[in-house]
């Protein structure tokens, strides 16, 4: 099966990005421009990485960039991770998709631009679910989100590292899946989601990795009053995923971390993407690269559509 897939970038691309990140990190830390750099370092298994926060220029050599750099590091700048977020100005390695999350957090006044130094990566793509840790980045192993990426060359970063080599056209697997769902009858869609949500174990990985799930008190943890069941039964699972999608509507920037982190392979981004599309249609809003003060559900226009209201 693998022989039909072509490798997307040779090692020199990743080596160049890695080097540029290290050089930039050394410069930033030794000049004292930033207090820390949030990046990736090699994990124990071949091809894997772990997020890391570096404060010492001598450790810059630990940083890497590889097709395994799947994490959206913006998570470590949020209130949810306030205990580890270094004080002062911080540099962060961000792919185009991660930068959307940064823009969203800036818009929601969770971050201050002047306290941020964004090292943008011109990104070929990262590996998706099902790709083995040792496998290369190919047309077969690339993540679903990367197949439809529109932000390979990040804009608005303080510095951009790497140059994206020419890439083939990808079939939009996720868009096709979304269209397939939309063409179903409500009963079929209900069966689809019921099947997926019934597998949910409420490990909360989807919430914990989401840069926008920074609430100190999550609605789903509340018990007085209880807004939704906390037990991982099909009923509570369905409610949780509906609430999650609703709370991210107009905010989610599509990094798909929720879907990646889900140990039960629930295609969560289909929900996020559906909501993003509806908000684009309704209010011409798109979670983009530019921070905006108000999202589509925190503002209104008098002439908004109300054809569904009697």
């Amino acid at each position: 099966m693998q022989q039909n897939h072509t490798q997307l970038a040779d090692d020199s691309y990743f080596a160049a990005v890695t080097n540029a990140i290290r050089t930039e990190t050394t410069k930033l830390l030794s000049e004292g421009t930033v207090a820390a750099v949030i990046g990736y370092q090699a994990g124990t298994r071949a091809g894997t990485v772990i997020p890391t926060i570096i404060t010492d220029a001598a450790k810059a050599g630990d940083l890497v960039f590889s097709p395994g750099c799947v994490n959206n590091l913006a998570l470590y700048l949020t209130k949810a991770k306030k205990e580890v977020r270094p004080a002062g100005k911080v540099a962060i390695i961000a792919k185009g998709c991660d930068m959307r999350a940064l823009a969203g957090l800036l818009g929601e006044s969770q971050l201050k631009r002047e306290e941020l130094h964004i090292i943008g990566v011109a990104c070929v793509g990262v590996k998706g679910a099902g790709a083995g840790s040792g496998e290369a980045l190919t047309t077969g192993t690339i993540a679903r989100k990367c197949r439809e990426c529109t932000v390979r060359a990040p804009e608005g970063a303080d510095v951009v590292v790497g140059a994206v080599p020419p890439l083939p056209e990808f079939s939009p697997v996720e868009a096709e899946e979304l269209a397939r769902l939309e063409a179903m009858t409500p009963a079929e869609r209900w069966a689809f989601w019921k099947g997926h949500f019934s597998r949910c174990i409420r490990c909360m990985a989807c919430r914990q990795v989401c840069p926008f799930c920074y609430c100190e008190q999550c609605l789903c943890d509340r018990n007085r009053p209880q807004a939704l069941e906390t037990t991982p039964r099909p009923a509570g699972n369905m409610a949780w995923h509906i609430v999650r999608a609703m709370h991210l509507a107009g905010r989610c920037a599509g990094c798909t971390e929720c879907e990646r982190a889900c140990p039960m392979d629930i295609p969560l981004n289909l929900l996020n993407r559906k909501m993003a599309r509806e908000l684009k249609t309704l209010y011409d809003f798109e979670a983009g690269l530019v921070p905006v003060e108000k999202g589509p559900l925190t503002e209104y226009r008098e002439e908004d559509d109300q054809s569904f209201i009697k």
Binding site: L181, E182, P186, A187, E188, R189, W190, A191, F192, W193, K194, S198, L219, A227, L228, P232, R233, P234, A235, M238, A239, I242, V243, A245, M246, A249, G250, L271, K274, M275, E278, L279, L282, Y283, P296, L297, T298, E299, Y300, R301, E302, D304, D305, Q306, F308, I309, K310
Partner: protein, 161 residues
């Protein structure tokens, strides 16, 4: 008139307009289906989508959300915000597989007792024709295989929940 099925309808209404409108319908001795259970909120802006979800989970067959006409909000813009929120939420529900015919939104002012009657009657009859909302109720009864109960007493106790 006797019906085989009497749907449960939950109406989330704002206190300033729709509640007063419903009140007017009552004091004017207008008739409307007693299927509707009215829940009063300060403003449609206070009505969280979770309430709707919860109502379906707990056994309602139809939901009505109703408040002040645009421009009439007691808090200036609560209904404008609600309008966007529910426009989005109904798309989400539909995507999950909920038939949107069970969910109605309306603007009913304090003077529109007649419109209240009309909205409630129409929704009740529509939902009656659709039959009971079984999806969420069935889900509520479902267990993960590992926690399924097989003893008859428990099953019975469960049915009663």
């Amino acid at each position: 008139m006797e019906h085989d099925f009497e749907p449960k309808i939950v109406a989330f209404v704002c206190t300033w307009c729709t509640y007063a409108g419903a009140d007017l319908a009552g004091t004017s001795r207008m008739q409307y289906p007693s299927n509707v259970r009215v829940l009063k909120f300060p403003c449609t802006g206070r009505i969280d989508p979770v309430f709707i979800l919860r109502a379906f989970q707990k056994g309602t067959d139809g939901v009505l959300v109703s408040g002040c006409h645009p421009g009439d909000c007691h808090y200036m813009a609560g209904n404008f915000h609600a309008r966007r929120r529910f426009a989005a939420f109904r798309q989400l529900l539909e995507f999950i597989g909920v038939d949107l015919n069970r969910l109605q939104f309306s603007w009913v002012s304090a003077a529109e007792g007649g419109k209240w009657v009309e909205v409630v009657t129409e929704l009740t009859e529509r939902v009656r024709a659709m039959g009971p909302m079984v999806e969420f109720k069935e889900l509520e009864m479902e267990e993960h295989w590992s926690g399924k109960l097989d003893s008859p007493e428990l099953k019975e106790a469960y049915q009663n929940i």
